[in-house]
Symmetry: C2
Subunit: 408 residues, 2 copies
């Protein structure tokens, strides 16, 4: 693991590939825009750091806010607590088996953890484990506002039962409600996403009001996913939003107009390692692990393959090219226009043009479908700025699922 931010003076041409590139100029612009959006709506921004798993990104994403963040694994909670982030919402339904590790994070690093549950049984088991350890956590009840993943429906009686169980537990403090409109990732068109954003807001507020009417204190009404955070028209009754992927953006967001291609801050630097005229492919050293096999944006737009291809110095996709196949450590770039004109001559000219544009040994940047999936397995970011070809910093990040060893 790269533990600390380090300055760097390496040229992109000298990096060992595949390597994860992060454009800090675009990142800052994305962070500022979301912070302004939250301020306009009068809600707190609690960015989801599952996308970047990076303290450097977290500092930019929380600029002007309290420093409160959202995480999705014990490893992220541990990493961010070690880096001084002390208000963490762990936004995956809690299970008792994680309580001891989370307690250690609170105890050793002085962080405050807020957990999530949507079942009485889960609350009971987690609370018992916490009591046995002398631990205390804040708890949010997860609300399903249409995503069909975690959560109780806003009108479900279970809502009150869960809140009651937490309140009686002695080791959990009910803090409010949380929802995530994950289905907004499958909605096409801003109008459809606006409707989902309103349903997300209304469901969370309805759940909060039902709890208040039953006598529970509800401090937190937490909503958010990047699509709904960008498209929401109003957030009355909401206290915080938790978007994540907006920090980096990706093809999946661009395919629906949530962002532009020029807003994508993350890319994978790869080297051209071969030309195969028989299979009509350019080979690069970034495969299914380096890019992920995610192809979310294919739901909305054709011709993206497993990612778009740019020259190393910028993030302007080369027309007609995409990563067409992935093996573990190989990516195979194809030109979609190779049959243009329908003649063998036209096809061969297109192929030769691709080989000429991407000579052996040259470097390319690949824009990913889903930034969270692509960034996860790496242990560091190589930070560039705009169209420069110099790396100006190396930023460490968390990865995997395990908290660092005791004492580490």
């Amino acid at each position: 693991m790269v533990a600390l931010t380090q300055p760097s003076h390496t040229a992109l041409s000298e990096l060992v590939t595949p390597a994860l590139l992060l454009d800090s100029a675009v990142l800052e612009r994305n962070c500022d825009a979301m912070a302004q959006r939250a301020a306009r709506h009068g809600v707190a921004l609690r960015p989801h750091l599952k996308t970047s798993k990076s303290a450097d990104v977290a500092r930019l994403a929380t600029r002007g806010h309290s420093g409160a963040i959202t995480v999705s694994t014990v490893a992220e909670a541990d990493y961010f607590a070690r880096h001084g982030f002390d208000d963490l919402t762990y936004a995956v339904g809690i299970s008792a088996g994680k309580i001891e590790a989370l307690h250690r994070i609170q105890r050793v690093h002085g962080a405050r953890l807020t957990l999530l549950a949507d079942r009485v049984e889960a609350v009971r088991a987690a609370a018992a484990r916490a009591r046995a350890l002398g631990a205390r956590f804040r708890l949010l009840v997860e609300i399903d506002t249409g995503g069909g993943r975690g959560g109780v429906a806003p009108g479900d009686d279970a809502l009150l039962a869960i809140a009651g169980e937490a309140q009686r537990s002695g080791s959990l403090t009910l803090a409010g409600v949380l929802t995530h409109a994950g289905h907004s990732y499958h909605a096409n068109g801003l109008a459809a996403i606006r409707d989902i954003a309103e349903a997300e807001r209304a469901g969370a507020v309805q759940a909060a009001e039902r709890l208040r009417a039953a006598g529970f204190a509800v401090e937190v009404v937490s909503v958010g996913a990047t699509p709904t955070a960008v498209c929401a028209q109003r957030l009355d009754g909401v206290t915080e939003m938790r978007p994540g992927v907006y920090t980096f953006f990706d093809l999946d967001q661009a395919a629906r107009g949530i962002c532009g291609i020029e807003d994508i801050a993350l890319s994978v630097l790869a080297t051209v390692i071969g030309h195969n005229p028989r299979s009509r492919r350019v080979l690069i050293d970034a495969g299914g692990l380096a890019l992920s096999k995610d192809e979310s944006a294919a739901e909305f737009r054709d011709g993206l393959g497993f990612g778009l291809v740019c020259h190393a110095g910028n993030t302007r996709p080369l027309p007609g090219l995409c990563v067409a196949e992935l093996h573990q450590e190989h990516g195979l770039i194809a030109c979609e226009d190779e049959g243009a004109g329908g003649t063998a001559t036209g096809a061969n000219e297109a192929l030769q043009a691709m080989f000429d544009a991407l000579p052996i040994g040259s470097r390319v940047r690949i824009l990913p479908h889903h930034a969270c999936m692509t960034a996860a397995p790496y242990d560091r970011y190589h930070v560039v700025r705009g169209t420069g070809t110099q790396v100006h910093a190396v930023w460490g990040k968390a990865s995997g699922w395990h908290a660092a060893e005791h004492g580490a």
Copy 2:
């Protein structure tokens, strides 16, 4: 990173999930069977460690052989050299930008690295960088025997040009030829794979003979992928095979009869964190990162979703259940028979049976489609044996793409 093998006395029920489980009894059986297969064919076994990225697995996989192995990244080369493996084939087309890192691995750890190339330009650039560093590497020419990824065709004149370029370079020693019939992963039925295995063998031998006829010394004729290694009828003229995934096997291999379900050594331990009766899903804490989004076996068999579901104590799939959806850290299990009988009552009974079989807080094992993709992002294996529910060791592994820091 977990640097060393550690004994363990943890129960599966105490592990923080998701966690990677490895059944060492199945692993040893798989390793022994492949070693015997290689011995029967009279070829050396140079297992591909990209699947496990683990020195403990490598020691079992090379038992009775020379200890020679295959790797696919600079990080793997570095990791295995540090763990005493000194004969490494880096089986991804070389680019000059990796030469310095590979040179350091040879120099610091005393390993011998064999590289791969299929273009004169790549050979020239790598050789120049090696010369500048005073380094020397062995080189194999990559042959395309139908995979359409890397490699020159066995009859291509470029074969001789590449060999000549290497021979003249002063920093590369031509060692032979290498091919990988990656298209065997998309062939259904053992007869079709047998044909691919023979084409792989024949193509590699043809290339070797052409080089020998032109006066080049060819020591190595390297073939192999797990499907062709298992199905090959004869390997005359071949000197070594390089299968990898056979160590763990997976649903993709089982779907075509390359192995049985009982031969799958790798699984992901997850915790049931929710039941959603509205979306008819059981939620687990293993999502797209913990399982990978690979669904290779869907090409051959329906009903696998993103993986099959077993109780924690064994690897016998629960009938009719699969991981139907993946989010970053959530997996959603569905029962495919929920509409059985076509009645609402039948569907609700099936749903309730699934909820009863997988109570909140219980643990499951998920069998993955593609073991290489699933194992890659983890930093350790929790080693079990047979149907026991105790972890008896923790094995470290490599991950990512970066060599360890200097001096580390």
